[in-house]
Amino acid sequence: MIIPLSIAVLVTGGVYLLLQRGMVRIIFGLALISHAANLMLLLAGVSAWRGEPLPDRVDPALATDPLPHAFVLTAIVIAFAVTVLMLALAVIGHNDDTKRMPATGEERAT
């Protein structure tokens, strides 16, 4: 029960932050949503606590399903890389989404 509730809270916070104007808040919102997705993946394989998925220590019948762990690990790495990239985007063009964009000599779009 506690994991679905956590997912709900994370998604709520994530959507709220996503609807804000500043880039950094949007990034935090996306981080929350990707955490929620990760928890969902964990829930797909582990509904209750079971043993570590190490075949020489724990009886495979009692061990937890290792595949969702691998999924989550991959997803976390990807989310981390994207977050770093987006933080870089936020730094490069800081404030250009809340103030006017700097003059570059380009003609305006549309």
Partner: protein, 504 residues
């Protein structure tokens, strides 16, 4: 061919991308960035020849037991998609070299990463791996939008990143749900599993929803016409050939594999496809810039492609797949020609351009051929695409078939009128008198009188001309292409050989 070679289609572009980060010589970069997609093209043609005798090739990565390992699977459909996308990547890379955009430090490396991710997405037989490949494909795209870096593109790039990230989270959630319900994410094990398992049908619908955002299906299409036209023409040609088409390929593959025939919610699909066709064609009227108008035509194209899936007969799937191949080539050609016009005259607006038919006869003829293909008037590949779609829709004899048939016809007329406006605005009218020449300092200099000797040079329109020629080849060679596409569609209708090859 040994199936163990399949992962090389992913590994070689990624390794080459790594190499290009280290090697800074522009000559080496150009050779590698053109050679790798050309290599994929050769490999795809070899695979197509191989699939005449062996319908499905599968390789279990890491030699784990089948069903546990991540499979790389190639069938006629995957090989066809590999061939067409690698051709489009090759030509777009050529165009980027001609316009000099390859001088941006990481552009060749990013392009190859994108290429590798696309190849992986076509070949993978595992839902989670598909998510990873889509991310491998999107990460360089985030940078590609920003790297040709003006301020406006940076802001636009954010829209693209945020939309795609939220969608990726949704895709991941969907994959998690599929795993929770079915206990596997291997497509071969999921084959026809949703027919008697409503929770799995729902989980698969979440995956398909995420993919349809990435494929720009109305009403979740808004990001595409906003972001694509803001990038450069070469990058837009690359994206239009790869991103939405990978998503559409995955929709075809997953829908056909997981559901046995129609999904329980197939009516929703009919409504969405009709909306996509209508909104795409109608919105083209609102645009006065070549590439923005083409972006809306891409949305209409997505609708056409999905008509084949919605009807789900062997003939309609083949028609939809043929339309997808045609759309990649034709849209690429038109975007590259529009890019050549913008590069020389400094604008893609209908009002700023006029009378180009007097100055650049070759570009005018090529664009005309491309536009005819987009609408579906012979001599063009689009003609056979639409004929196949309409005859497949008429053959079903259901209300869905008739609704989609009439929508396709109405949309074709709308697109014809909208594209006539483009044609009249850009190519007809009085001779142009002013233009905005290239300026190294600000990108575009102020309006200047247009001298008679400023024309679109052949090196700029040759990439577009190549794709127009391929498109004409698809018209004259339809006799050989149609059976191939029909075989690909047969692989979707009857997933038996696919499952057998993967789980053997």
């Amino acid at each position: 061919m040994n199936p163990a070679l399949l992962p090389l289609l992913l590994a070689v572009p990624l390794l080459a991308a790594g190499l290009l980060v280290i090697v800074r010589s522009r000559g080496v970069q150009r050779v590698v960035v053109l050679a790798v997609p050309a290599g994929t093209l050769v490999m795809a043609v070899l695979l197509l020849l191989e699939h005449r005798s062996v319908p499905v090739l599968a390789h279990q990565v890491g030699a784990f037991a089948p069903g546990v390992a991540i499979p790389f699977v190639s069938d006629t459909l995957a090989a066809l998609m590999l061939a067409v996308t690698s051709l489009a990547t090759l030509v777009a890379a050529w165009f980027l070299c001609v316009t000099g955009e390859d001088r941006y430090r990481f552009l060749p490396a990013l392009l190859l990463m994108l290429h590798g991710g696309v190849n992986g997405a076509f070949l993978t037989g595992d839902l989670f791996n598909l998510f990873v490949m889509v991310e491998v494909m999107l990460l360089p795209s985030y940078a590609l939008i920003a790297v040709t870096g003006t301020w406006r593109r940076l802001g636009i790039g954010r829209t693209f990143v945020v939309v795609n990230l939220v969608t990726s989270a949704l895709l991941l959630t969907g994959v998690g749900l599929v795993y929770a319900v079915a206990g596997t994410v291997n497509l071969a094990l999921l084959s026809d599993a949703a027919a008697d398992n409503p929770p799995l049908a729902l989980a698969a619908a979440v995956v398909l929803l995420a993919l349809s955002v990435k494929g720009a299906v109305v009403p979740v299409h808004g990001w595409l016409p906003q972001t694509y036209p803001a990038t450069s023409a070469g990058v837009m040609a690359l994206f239009s050939a790869l991103h939405t088409k990978v998503a559409l390929y995955a929709i075809y593959r997953i829908y056909a594999t997981v559901f046995d025939g129609h999904a329980p919610w197939a009516v929703v699909l009919v409504v969405l496809v009709v909306l996509t066709l209508g909104v795409g064609a109608w919105s083209t009227f609102g645009e006065h810039i070549i590439r923005r108008a083409l972006a809306w035509q891409m949305i209409a194209g997505v609708g056409h492609i999905l008509v084949g899936l919605t009807l789900f007969t062997a003939a309609s799937l083949a028609a939809g797949l043929f339309y997808m191949l045609h759309h990649i080539v034709t849209m690429g050609a038109l975007l590259l020609l529009a890019g050549a016009i913008e590069q020389v005259y400094g604008s893609g607006r209908y009002e700023r351009l006029s009378g180009l038919i007097h100055r650049d006869r070759a570009v005018a003829i090529l664009t005309a051929l491309g536009l005819l293909s987009l609408i579906g008037i012979p001599i063009s590949s689009g003609f056979f695409g639409k004929v196949a779609l309409i005859s497949a829709a008429a053959a079903t004899g259901t209300w869905q078939g008739w609704l989609l048939l009439s929508t396709v016809l109405v949309v074709s007329v709308l697109s014809l009128v909208a594209m006539q406006r483009l044609w009249a605005g850009v190519f007809w009218g009085p001779e142009m008198e002013t233009y905005r020449p290239d300026s190294p300092a600000t990108g575009r200099a102020a309006l200047a009188p247009l001298p008679q000797d400023v024309l679109i040079p052949a090196r700029l329109w040759l990439p577009g001309a190549t794709l127009v020629t391929v498109q004409l080849g698809m018209f004259f060679g339809a006799g050989t292409l149609m059976p191939l596409v029909a075989r690909a569609a047969q692989g979707l209708v009857d997933t038996g050989p696919y499952v057998e090859a993967v789980l053997r």
